[in-house]
């Protein structure tokens, strides 16, 4: 009750300020890039996300129009309480307005709660949990790049329609893996495919050989990897060793980034299928951005879809700020404006943000090229299918977000 009154008061004050001092706008903004700088996710987010944020600031052109925009960054060490503390301190002490990136679902959910409490803005690019726009959605959070539902449905249905209609799952035995397997199974069945079986393996398994033997024996056309990070790369590497792909089976990774493909090398990764929402070599605009990004990156890697998400989400945020004219400190109001405006940026094309905070854009089913098909460094993917924006993500009527009035 108290917070509602203060929100009302704040709203009144803001409205009053906006009406009377329109010419004396507050035009200072602070962007916080919170990421895993040192651990498992540092390659797909990390320093690259900070760089992407800086590039978005430069490309927005707002600094030339009297805005003062700072970017700061920090390492959440993959610890939810460290992430929550940094977020809280950023709002209380450093006066940060918007937090971007935040890979690792646990940290992202913790940060989302703080952001709501502080009425800031949170645009998540790095985390996969679809809870952010379902059970745990807030009026202050936007989920930009991808989520587990989209990965599962994209790969599951597109691959089944492309002929991979019998599946066998290798699933990491925890909530994330189970959700991926469940969603993919639904998509496979809906597309007319069959699931022949599956196996649950513990997290951080270094040896997949016995699981792969069982996958091989199942004779399924597609082996779906419902796991992440080191588990996925190890499974792919060992599948190549056991000759699964030579035997005619397709490997489908349900969560994989270009940084992983780069790490595996084409020899091992060739023939792998997975879904992403961004690839550097899609069109002239993505190529131009990616080249600039690559030049400025410390180890000259190409941007991942997470980096692209940070960049394009901030561009949209700046557009909303420009439309509002100033006073960027009421998070929920800015987010409402962002949802109202259609999105259009060089990397993800045209799209929109749904009322539950889900950003909608097309997704792509890729296959990793063979070494002979690849024409140069980072030439890794060929496009198999495009999943249109309105099919790629959770349909609104299935979202359990409390912001949706039903």
């Amino acid at each position: 009750m108290k917070s509602r009154i203060s929100a009302l008061l704040l709203g009144t004050v803001l409205a009053f300020t906006a009406a009377n001092f329109a010419f004396a706008q507050d035009k200072t903004v602070k962007v916080g890039a919170l990421s895993d700088q040192s651990g498992l996710y540092s390659d797909l987010g990390g320093p690259g996300s900070t760089l992407a944020a800086q590039m978005a600031v430069e490309d927005s052109g707002l600094t030339g129009k009297g805005w003062k925009i700072d970017v700061i960054s920090a390492d959440h060490l993959n610890k939810p309480d460290v992430g929550a503390n940094i977020a809280r301190q950023w709002f209380d002490v450093d006066k940060v307005d918007i937090i971007v990136d935040v890979p690792n679902s646990g940290v992202a959910l913790a940060v989302s709660n703080i952001v709501k409490e502080k009425n800031g803005i949170f645009i998540d690019s790095g985390a996969g949990t679809s809870d952010l726009t379902n059970a745990q959605c807030t009026p202050n959070t936007i989920h930009w790049t991808y989520d587990t539902y989209m990965l599962a449905h994209g790969t599951g249905s597109a691959l089944t329609k492309n002929g991979g209609d019998t599946w066998f799952f290798l699933t990491a035995d925890y909530a994330f893996g189970a959700a991926l397997e469940r969603d993919t199974t639904t998509a496979v069945l809906a597309a007319g495919g069959k699931v022949l079986g599956g196996i649950k393996h513990p997290l951080n398994t270094s040896d997949f050989s016995s699981f792969l033997l069982q996958a091989q024996a199942s004779k399924a056309k597609v082996v779906g990897l419902a796991n992440a990070g080191g588990d996925t790369t190890n499974a792919i590497k060992q599948a190549a060793e056991f000759g699964l792909t030579q035997g005619g089976q397709k490997m489908a990774a349900l969560l994989l980034f270009i940084s992983d493909v780069h790490a595996l090398g084409l020899n091992t990764a060739q023939g792998l299928n997975f879904t992403e929402t961004f690839y550097w070599d899609m069109n002239d605009q993505t190529r131009a951005f990616s080249k600039r990004f690559q030049e400025r990156m410390k180890n000259h890697t190409m941007p991942t879809m997470v980096h692209a998400g940070v960049y394009s989400s901030l561009l949209h945020y700046f557009k909303a700020l420009e439309a509002l004219g100033g006073n960027p400190h009421d998070g929920a109001k800015v987010v409402a404006k962002m949802k109202e405006m259609p999105t259009d940026d060089p990397l993800f094309g045209k799209g929109s943000i749904e009322p539950n905070g889900r950003k909608i854009h097309p997704a792509y089913l890729f296959e990793v090229k063979t070494p002979s098909e690849s024409k140069g460094p980072w030439d890794y993917y060929k496009l198999l299918a495009t999943i249109p924006a309105d099919e790629a993500f959770t349909p609104l009527d299935k979202s359990t977000c409390s912001l949706l009035k039903k």
Binding site: G39, Y41, D43, L44, D173, S210, L213, F242, L264
Partner: protein
Amino acid sequence: MQALYAQLLVGLINGSFYALLSLGLAVIFGMLNIINFAHGALYMMGAFCAYFLLNLANIGYWPALIIAPVAVGIFGMILERTLLRWLTGLDHLYGLLLTFGLALIIQGIFQNYFGSSGLPYSIPDALKGGANLGFMYLPIYRGWVVVFSLVVCLLTWYLIERTRLGAYLRAATENPTLVRAFGINVPRMITLTYGLGVGLAALAGVLSAPINQVRPQMGADLIIVVFAVVVIGGMGSIMGSIITGFALGVIEGLTKYFYPEASNTVVFVLMVLVLLVKPTGLTGRAN
């Protein structure tokens, strides 16, 4: 039933890594009375060393099998000379803490320079492909790992239990003062022993490079499992740690077949059971 044979064989492969690593730990513990927490990090360095040799110097798998353990072993000896030596006479727990710190440093530095997703390293051409054994498809490389590590384990056992050098070593463990009185340079033997143990870890790293992704964190979780193996086997005898390593690999393989969800925890559960029945470990002497 066929699948069972396959799992047994696969378990044996995993067991060879446990055996090599716990053997290295046991060798170091026997001589220095230190539990080497940096063992996992040094194992990782072995794998990275193989990667560097291939990509910077164009030196392939076979030479790397010798060069990497020697190089990492020398690195280990430098660590022993410059850091671990200062702990002589202190409580053994300080050795654990120091090597834990070293592990953090080594893993952190590799993480900074090479990221977390790792680097590719492929199977040498001579060992590519596989053989159909009737009940399973066995990649040749896996078979090679089992045979090779078994040979290395037995050689190490022979070196320590059956040669004159080994006799000095064992004597120096029992009574360093007396051995020194015979004119044997005990500090140098300690350094060499640490180098040997570290070299074994690095060798395991090279062996695993073509199978597992070469990542900075590849040894971090493995070392805890190996600790459990060591607790189960006890560090009383070299042969004990070899056998326990292989045996636990097989047991883990069987778990993967019958109840895959528990395959990561089975070693720890076994450790608890062994502790309840025979606290000194299967081969350990009461001390």
